[in-house]
């Protein structure tokens, strides 16, 4: 199975690797997946509470090249978007951008879940009602 150029690029040069302060009230943290499945993604976003624009995003992923690429791409895409715009990102867009084969589609689903989980966490911290389907953050406390 050969990887697409974009997957290889994200793997060699991942964007926005790292962590934000999870205790910062403006940081939402999403932790999805499970070690037993071979895929764990942690996605964090710093959101400006006034403009609701995502100003910073960082990720860390335990998973295959496609999983790393999907989450790296996710951090690229959410930066500069509003919370609502980011929530509208679909995994199918990630699949198309990275040319993921069918067997790797679940990696893009996990990335979409990670975005939603992070923003859901942020909303909870803001005291907002979470209108997304139950995707509570599994972040360790």
């Amino acid at each position: 199975m050969a990887y697409s150029e974009k997957v290889v690029d994200h793997y060699q040069n991942p964007r926005n690797v790292g962590s934000l302060d999870k205790n910062d009230p403006n940081v939402g943290t999403g932790l999805v997946g499970a070690p037993e499945c071979g895929d764990v993604m942690k996605l964090q976003m710093k959101v400006n509470p006034d403009t609701r624009v995502i100003e910073e995003a960082k990720f860390k992923t335990f998973g295959c090249g496609s999983a790393i690429a999907s989450s790296s791409l996710a951090t690229e895409w959410v930066k500069g978007k509003t919370v609502e715009e980011a929530l509208a990102i679909k995994n199918t867009e990630i699949v198309r951008e990275l040319s993921l084969p069918p067997v790797k589609i679940h990696c893009s689903v996990l990335a979409e879940d990670a975005i939603k989980a992070a923003l859901s966490d942020w909303k909870k911290k803001q005291g907002e009602a979470d209108t997304q389907p139950a995707q509570s953050s599994g972040a360790a406390h």
Binding site: V8, V32, C37, G38, C64, A67, H106
Partner: protein, 408 residues
């Protein structure tokens, strides 16, 4: 000395054909191309002579007689023939077969098919080191047991089963003993007499021979084993395996065995040295790395390591100028992690982080050093990307966490 990239270190999957083997095979493609079954002319006689010569070369490697060697298309076919052949032939005597959970799919899937036909199969578990337990084996044998099938060396973890002891138990109980020796023949001294083996599968392309050819050892004395053929048509190979013989392939298999017999001892020592060098380099530079399977009872050229917090496929991608393989689900077509590692009790999270290194005849010390460095630097880089490593460093007990897996 310049290293040639990419480096091949996946010799359990397949091996390159040794130049000496290739040289021996070539005349049989278009000079001495006769059908070995053509009894009436020189073309046939020359081919037949080459085949008989190969039978001898293989027999000598395993301490059998030439008449006990049957040629097949490969070890998968040999294993199918051994298990199905005994099952059908000895149906009146019994219908129970004993094998174990870390066998190759050629054995496991054949047994599964027999279960559909009403045979009973016991799949013995293995201990943490990958070896079967003798008490489990003894307990599993019943008056209806007609075959025990246990591999000599495992293809994923290189672990060696106690074949001689199993052979003794099989003989004691009057049960035939089949051994998938694909990974062991030519690497460690295999002796069908000393080890009480009645049937044995051999593969050409695992011992620097060509793909598409293998052999099955079928004991003729003490006891005599009879097999029902699974391929009919012409009655070749004493009625056990019909079909025109792959003469060039067989010549190659024979030559490969002859080379192994001469060079096995020295090569084994050399590869063991390289394996230790690789292992020591990795363990010196990385923490949280674990060896899967017994280091005591193991092929000299194999090592299987789990690199905690780093997923296997991403590691392979990072060392893309090195060919090895992984037990991670992401590397399998079915997205299932290695069943062999699971049987050892290796947690699924660590199974996903495992890499199998299979050293071979053409690997050098320089290659080992290069691979060790690439692995170390890639693991370090991927751990920086890993949320699990971050948590572990913070002192979080990952095993206690409740994970929310993605909705599929």
């Amino acid at each position: 000395m310049a290293i040639k990239l990419p480096i091949y270190m996946d010799n359990h999957a397949t091996t390159p054909v040794d130049p000496r083997v290739l040289e021996a095979m070539l005349p049989y493609f278009n000079e001495k191309f006769g059908n070995a079954a053509s009894r009436n002319h020189e073309f046939g006689w020359v081919a037949e002579e080459a085949v008989e010569n190969a039978r001898g070369q293989i027999a000598r490697l395993i301490n059998a007689t030439p008449k006990e060697i049957i040629f097949t298309s490969g070890a998968t076919e040999s294993t199918n023939l051994a298990i199905k052949g005994v099952a059908e032939m000895y149906r009146e005597k019994g219908n129970q077969i004993i094998t174990q959970v870390t066998e190759h799919k050629a054995t496991l899937d054949t047994c599964k098919r027999l279960e559909k036909y009403g045979y009973e199969v016991t799949y013995l578990p293995v201990e943490k080191d990958g070896r079967i337990n003798f008490d489990d084996l003894r307990r599993a044998i019943t008056p209806k047991t007609i075959l025990i099938s246990i591999m000599y060396a495992n293809n994923e973890i290189g672990v060696l089963q106690p074949v001689e002891e199993i052979g003794k138990i099989a003989k004691e109980k009057g049960v035939f003993f089949h051994v998938d020796a694909v990974q062991a023949v030519g690497k460690v001294p295999v002796d069908v007499q000393k080890e009480g083996i009645d049937l044995m599968s051999i593969s050409g392309h695992k011992i620097y021979g060509p793909k598409g050819v293998g052999a099955l050892y079928v004991r003729r004395k003490n006891p005599r084993v009879q097999l029902a053929a699974i391929i009919d048509g012409g009655g070749h190979e004493r009625g056990m395996r019909s079909g025109t013989l792959n003469v060039p392939g067989i010549v190659g298999l024979g030559k490969a065995c002859e080379i192994c017999q001469k060079e096995m001892a020295a090569e084994g020592e050399r590869l063991r040295g390289l394996r230790e060098r690789l292992k020591d380099a990795i363990f010196a530079q990385l923490d949280e790395v674990f060896i899967n399977g017994s280091m005591v009872h193991r092929l000299p050229n194999n090592i299987n390591i789990s690199f905690a917090y780093v997923e296997g496929e991403s590691l392979l991608m990072g060392i893309n100028d090195v060919a090895v393989s992984s037990g991670s689900a992401c590397t399998s077509a079915t997205l299932e992690p290695s069943y062999v590692l699971k049987a050892l009790g290796v947690g699924e999270d660590l199974a996903h982080t495992s890499i199998r290194f299979g050293l071979g005849r053409f690997n050098t010390e320089e290659e080992v050093d290069y691979v060790a460095n690439r692995v170390i630097e890639t693991v370090k880089r991927l751990r920086e990307l890993s949320p699990l490593y971050e948590m572990a460093k913070e002192g979080v007990d990952i095993s206690k966490m409740k994970w929310q897996a993605a909705a599929e």
